[in-house]
């Protein structure tokens, strides 16, 4: 299934997130990721939702129904060709420092903390796929805990 990102701007009011998530549930989707932050304009929040759907018309329907909420100022789909989709992961790893060295330069990460000889806390930023690749290459068996922000996106 095709992964879609929907970007919506909305009034920063209680209950709006509730409405959006109820709409998505009503349409029987499972949200992949959802991020909310403030926008450039005071009182307006910016929400990025990713979910799986192949059918273009169904995505249009979600967008139209989002726009129907009086709190939603605008909504549209962002496709990967014309926008950046990025997320950040914070990862606690049990791994040799030398092993990590190998990835320097190839992946965009930063060591936030080294708790002991081989316990590291890293911050990795990039596309979902890039972060997945990094974690795979490091080796899933080294991961103790991971926190990911979910996707936020911006049009090119």
């Amino acid at each position: 299934m095709k992964r879609r990102a929907i970007l919506a701007f909305m009034l920063d009011r209680p209950g709006v997130l509730n409405k959006v998530s109820m709409l998505i549930r009503k349409k029987m989707y499972n949200v992949d990721t959802l991020t909310v932050c403030s926008s450039r304009i005071e009182g307006i929040s910016r929400m990025t939702i990713t979910l799986q759907e192949d059918d273009e018309a169904k995505v249009d329907q979600i967008i139209k129904q989002l726009e129907k909420f009086t709190e939603v100022v605008s909504a549209k789909e962002l496709d990967t060709d014309h926008s950046y989709w990025r997320e950040v992961a914070i990862v606690k790893l049990e791994v040799d420092a030398t092993h990590l060295e190998e990835f320097h330069g190839r992946y965009n990460f930063e060591v936030l903390d080294q708790k002991s000889e081989d316990i590291h806390i890293l911050q990795v930023a990039g596309s979902t796929r890039r972060i997945d690749a990094f974690l795979d290459e490091v080796g899933q068996e080294h991961i103790i805990e991971i926190a990911r922000t979910g996707v936020t996106a911006l049009e090119k």
Partner: protein, 589 residues
């Protein structure tokens, strides 16, 4: 000034005259204030659901009058508010503007599971257009104005204001000011676009002029924008037949030569067959519901679709459009009518075809109506409706309930008055008729109002006889009693091999029930008695209950089985020929 005073001041300012409701702890301050002021006619319903449908009645019936009114219902918190939910969901499905005001527990105890606390905003959010909960008395007046604006602007819908008890009593600061006249709500996300764009109109004109086999659709939007007259003129000018959705009924006289009657699941043969063969559908103010289209991938496959609709989220939702006109129906028709490109085409072959479709069931129906009884000698609903139509000249206001009798009333009353048909359609809520008829009567007191229910639906809100009694309302009440939940029984006949699970129904003595409320009653069991009984109800000043003993085996035909396409339309009574069955009988009727 207090929150409660400001609430009522705002309602008065917006022209509200009637408040339908039921009191209780969390709304007592507002009721108390209302009583002191004496500005409103308060109507106590016997159940909050009744109050919700009464307020719908006001809104629906006054749409076409010079003085539009928004229906308002008012209840206490918790159970009072929850009892409104069905009526609110119903209004949302049918795009009916209304305002529900509910009392809420005091802000200090919200979210503590206080006595009669329910999360009203949480419950109502997905079944209404907007919810509000003012937390300061200074916000109350503005909230009411914004709520009514949202409910009545664009596609109509219900709104809910949940007012905590302490906010009702709270005093606003001395310098509080609010100017209702100059107030405009700031709603950056509220999309309202009534004026049609030029380009799609141009394309629409071209498609219309080119088409050989067009059909025009008249939906609820035509009624809501008061565009019935314009639609009729337009149809006459271009010589295109009109099919109606359930809610489009009464926008144009039912016996107009261009009328095909209702379309969809229980639509006429001529409407559904014409749609099947059409090369162009021109639809005004509707949402292509499943009851209208049947199986989507078989729907009007060779037709271009022009869709005029105020709600952009309805465009391309179910049916792909060739030309989308996101605008108000009235304004669009107004512009179209003034277009010099508009041409009259005789379309002789198309009309010949339509005439032949009209003949498919005409003779059978005429005979049935004339006979007026089924095999068991009991009355046919269609004959009762036909007689009612004749005696009233098709001019009265009809408020059906939900079921077979509703479809009969949709099909066999000859609607002559604009906006004279008020039905629960999208939700199909049994029990809607009696309370809705009460609201309709308040909105249009000079006209005769008929509440027509089945034995099942009548008993869902029969308690509102008490409201009719107390308000001394002249509402004519017909109970078409077939001893069954008839519409479901029809499905059982057609798709469940005649197994009648959960549909036979014993009723009380409706005569004694009417008597208990001091309302005259007459039972009708023979065809000869139909007309005199109806005439008695017409002549009687005040409410009257007529019970008709109806044939349980009467079916409303044609019928497109749920999930089927128009190809599967059943036109013959079961028994006279094996009906085609559908494999998808799992849906609710």
């Amino acid at each position: 000034m207090t929150g409660k005073k400001l609430l009522l001041r705002a309602l008065k300012e917006k022209g509200v005259r009637y408040i339908f409701g039921y009191t209780g702890g969390a709304i007592m301050p507002v009721f108390d204030e209302m009583d002191k002021l004496g500005d409103f006619h308060f109507v106590m319903a016997r159940h909050e659901q009744g109050a919700a449908f009464m307020s719908q009645g006001i809104s629906r019936a006054s749409l076409s009058s010079a003085e539009k009114q928004i229906g308002v219902c008012m209840t206490t918190s918790g159970p009072g508010a929850m009892n409104l939910a069905t009526g609110i969901a119903d209004a949302y499905m049918d795009s009916v503007p209304m305002l529900a005001v509910t009392g809420q527990v005091a802000t200090g105890v919200i979210a503590t599971d206080a006595f009669q606390e329910s999360d009203v905003v949480g419950v109502m959010m997905p079944i209404c257009k907007q919810t509000y909960m003012p937390l300061d008395a200074a916000d109350v007046e503005q909230t009411v104005h914004e709520a009514i604006y949202v409910a009545t602007t664009g596609r109509g819908g219900p709104v809910v204001i949940d007012v905590p008890k302490d906010v009702q009593n709270q005093l606003v600061a001395d310098e509080y000011q609010f100017d209702a006249k100059s107030f405009r709500p700031t709603l950056p996300g509220f999309y309202y676009h009534p004026t049609p764009a030029r380009e799609p109109l141009q394309q629409a004109m071209e498609l219309i002029n080119r088409s050989e086999r067009p059909v025009m659709f008249c939906g609820h939007g035509v009624i809501n924008s008061n565009a019935g007259e314009l639609l009729r003129k337009f149809a006459e000018k271009v010589n295109i037949p009109i099919a109606f959705t359930l809610h489009g009924i009464s926008a144009v006289p039912a016996d107009h030569p261009l009328s095909l009657g209702m379309m969809g699941m229980h639509g006429t043969v001529e409407a559904n067959r014409a749609i099947m063969e059409a090369d162009l559908l021109i639809s005004f103010g509707m949402r292509f519901a499943d009851r209208v289209t049947g199986k989507l991938n078989e729907y009007a496959q060779n037709a271009d679709v022009i869709h005029v609709e105020i709600d952009p989220s309805e465009i391309d939702k179910n049916v792909r459009t060739s030309v989308a006109i996101n605008a108000d129906v009235y304004r669009t028709l107004h512009v179209l009518l003034g277009d010099p490109m508009l041409t009259y085409k005789p379309r002789r072959r198309w009309w010949e075809k339509i005439e032949s479709f009209r003949q498919v069931m005409a003779e059978d129906l005429r005979q049935e109506i004339e006979l007026a009884v089924g095999d068991g000698g009991k009355l046919l609903m269609k004959s009762i409706i036909d007689k009612l139509s004749e005696l009233t000249g098709g001019k009265d206001l009809i408020v059906p309930d939900v079921g077979q009798h509703q479809m009969m009333a949709a099909r066999f009353y000859n609607y002559q008055t604009q906006n004279s048909w008020f039905a629960s359609g999208g939700a199909g809520t049994m029990g809607a008729s009696l309370p809705m008829a009460i609201g309709v009567k308040f909105a249009r007191p000079a006209e005769r109002v008929w509440s027509i229910s089945g034995d099942g639906g009548f008993q869902m809100n029969a308690q509102e006889l008490g409201t009719i009694m107390e308000q001394k309302l002249d509402v004519k009440i017909l109970i078409l009693n077939n001893g069954y939940l008839g519409m479901v029984r029809q499905w059982q006949t057609l798709f469940f091999d005649g197994r009648y699970a959960g549909t036979p129904m014993q009723s009380p003595d409706f005569g004694l029930l009417a008597q208990a409320y001091g309302i005259p009653y007459r039972k009708v069991e023979t065809p000869e008695d139909i007309a005199p009984a109806l005439q008695q109800a017409i002549d009687h000043q005040g409410a009257m209950v007529l019970e008709f003993i109806c044939d349980p085996s009467e079916v409303i035909l044609p019928m497109v089985p749920s999930g089927g396409g128009f190809e599967d339309m059943i036109v013959k009574r079961p028994g006279s020929e094996q009906p085609e069955t559908s494999d998808s009988n799992g849906e609710e009727s």
